[in-house]
């Protein structure tokens, strides 16, 4: 049984158009699902919906988000927050703004364990040191006393990873966790996330627009266009033969999988037209059903 099941989830701008169109996907326990699509396709929206941090300007209009057998959307807000806090975590995109600049690293990791999970402080601190060591941070003791601005971007992202895994969550949403880093650091961080995910057996919803990353980290994949899932498949199948013209075009547009930069093909207009027609059809379905 899947740990997370999103079932025909629709989100729209309050008083505006749809942002997510009947999105369905599942993440099994310990599975890594990639979420790809162009900028603005709604990848982050899905992650935010699961974690209960959708912006105020948006609202969920239909669907279910079933976490560990319980539909989150039917729970009272306090209970929903408690459940998400106890079982989920976020690895955000930008390590610059993801740590509070005016607080030391240590408390930022341990507060969560102490205040929310009720751990004794000593145990939380020991756990934080252990985790920092696990993400290859030399001298965890010193790092815990540092402020975020004293550390490099890669270091901060390691800390965020450690922090995300701290409470042994069952599901982590990683929203483009390597985009803000430079290329050499990206590779290390990616490897680290993969390693941590495997060791802890955590399910991962991995938002990215880099198919190369998907091929390295993910087992399953959802391709999004304008808030619509156009393909949901196993990663292995996807790279062998994408099931949708849009996915194929996306794949062709990714440098890794073409011979030369010159042969890079933008997504053809005919494909865009076809996928737009699908979006329109989905909207008609939604307004009828």
């Amino acid at each position: 049984m899947s740990y997370l099941e999103i079932d025909r989830l629709s989100v729209r701008l309050r008083g505006g158009g749809p942002l997510l169109r009947q999105v369905s996907l599942t993440v099994a326990a310990g599975e890594v699902r990639g979420l790809v699509g162009e900028s603005g396709a709604g990848k982050s929206m899905i992650g935010k919906a699961v974690l209960g941090i959708l912006p105020r300007s948006t609202e969920i209009t239909a669907g279910r988000i079933v976490l560990d057998g319980v539909d989150l959307l039917t729970l009272p807000p306090a209970e929903r927050r408690r459940r998400i806090g106890a079982t989920c975590a976020l690895i955000p995109q930008d390590p610059l703004t993801a740590l509070n600049p005016s607080r030391r690293i240590g408390p930022q990791i341990t507060d969560r364990l102490v205040d929310i999970l009720g751990w004794p402080r000593v145990r939380a601190e020991a756990r934080a040191r252990e985790l920092l060591a696990e993400v290859y941070i030399p001298d965890p003791e010193r790092v815990m006393r540092s402020y975020p601005h004293e550390l490099s971007g890669g270091m901060r992202q390691r800390i965020l990873i450690a922090s995300a895994f701290a409470a042994e969550p069952k599901l982590i949403v990683a929203d483009e966790p390597t985009t803000a880093l430079d290329v050499t650091v990206q590779k290390q961080i990616l490897k680290l996330i993969k390693e941590m995910q495997e060791r802890h057996g955590t399910a991962l919803l991995f938002v990215t627009h880099d198919l190369g990353v998907v091929s390295k980290v993910c087992q399953s994949l959802s391709v999004l266009y304008a808030g619509l899932v156009v393909e949901d498949c196993a990663v292995r199948d996807f790279f062998r033969a994408p099931g949708h013209a849009y996915s194929a075009a996306l794949l062709a547009a990714t440098p890794k999988y073409t011979d030369a930069v010159a042969s890079l093909t933008p997504v053809p207009d005919t494909v865009i037209a076809a996928v737009r027609a699908e979006v329109a059809a989905a909207d008609r379905r939604m307004s009828h059903g």
Binding site: G52, R56, G85, A89, D115, Y147, S163
Partner: protein
């Protein structure tokens, strides 16, 4: 790079210590006025009128900064004047800050209807000419310490509210707030533990600036005789009296003016200096 930072830091330190030093002297003067003033600030002696400061010919020993036209000791009056100036700065500054920053924080972080309510209120408030409003207020409830403070709060709370609201809003959009929400921290907890520490440097700067402004406002109101209607010396009152006889006795005007200037400057510099101290990125 290191050198550049080092020298900036040193200058910030000097600024902080100089301004804090001057304000500390004032606080001591205000607290100890009855014991350290060389003369009774209210004692008049027409035979000792318009004595020049100590370095000029014709000065009397004991009247270091000279006397005014009624023969009152300028230095003693300045020291006593610090009392009212500091009380107004402290009380008016704190109330303005608490009210304005509190509402701004709530509006900027909670958003939604709270923000709409507070923001509209600020807009409407600012549509009134607040200076007129407070002069009216003083005319109605009469001059006095309370009405000066009230007038300052009325005029200035919106500045705190608007600046703090904008900052809280910017901080609220940061990823660390999202992480805290995912972890299950409540709104109040996020506001106090995550947002407030980041807005604090700005609040401190605004507060010290406000204290300086309060000192000026009090001086202006004394100057136009709308302040406290007792004989207690005030800097503004001294400046007003000194103005009348500036060609015969410049010191009656100049010394309180310098004191006022240094005090207001110190408040603003203290704010900037503290901000550098507070801000972990600049530290």
């Amino acid at each position: 790079m290191l050198d550049g930072r080092g020298s900036v830091k040193r200058r910030a330190g000097a600024r902080l210590w100089l301004s804090a030093g001057w304000l500390a002297v004032l606080v001591l003067a205000a607290l100890l006025a009855p014991w350290i003033t060389p003369k009774d600030p209210l004692a008049q002696d027409l035979f000792l009128g318009r004595l020049p400061p100590f370095w000029e010919t014709g000065a009397e020993p004991g009247y270091y900064l000279g006397t005014d036209s009624l023969g009152r000791d300028v230095l003693s009056r300045i020291l006593y004047g610090a009392r009212l100036a500091l009380i107004v700065a402290l009380v008016a500054g704190s109330i303005t800050c608490l009210l304005g920053a509190g509402l701004g924080l709530l509006a900027g972080f909670l958003r939604g209807w709270v923000d709409v309510l507070i923001s509209r209120f600020i807009d409407i408030w600012m549509a009134f000419p607040p200076v007129l409003f407070s002069i009216l207020l003083i005319a109605v409830i009469g001059p006095g310490l309370g009405s000066i403070i009230l007038a300052i709060v009325i005029i200035d709370w919106t500045r705190f509210a608007r600046v703090v609201r904008a900052e809280a809003m910017a901080q609220g959009a940061m990823d660390y707030v999202a992480s805290a929400r995912v972890a299950g921290r409540g709104r109040l907890g996020i506001m106090l533990r995550e947002i407030l520490p980041n807005v604090l440097p700005t609040i401190v700067v605004l507060l010290t600036l406000e204290m300086g402004i309060a000192v000026i406002v009090e001086a202006i109101l004394s100057f136009v005789n709308l302040s406290i209607s007792t004989d207690d010396p005030t800097w503004g009152g001294m400046i007003a009296e000194g103005r009348a006889a500036v060609y015969q006795a410049w010191w009656v005007l100049v010394f309180p003016l310098i004191t006022l200037f240094l005090t207001v400057l110190s408040f603003s510099q203290l704010g900037e200096g503290l901000k550098d101290r507070f801000d972990p990125v600049l530290r």
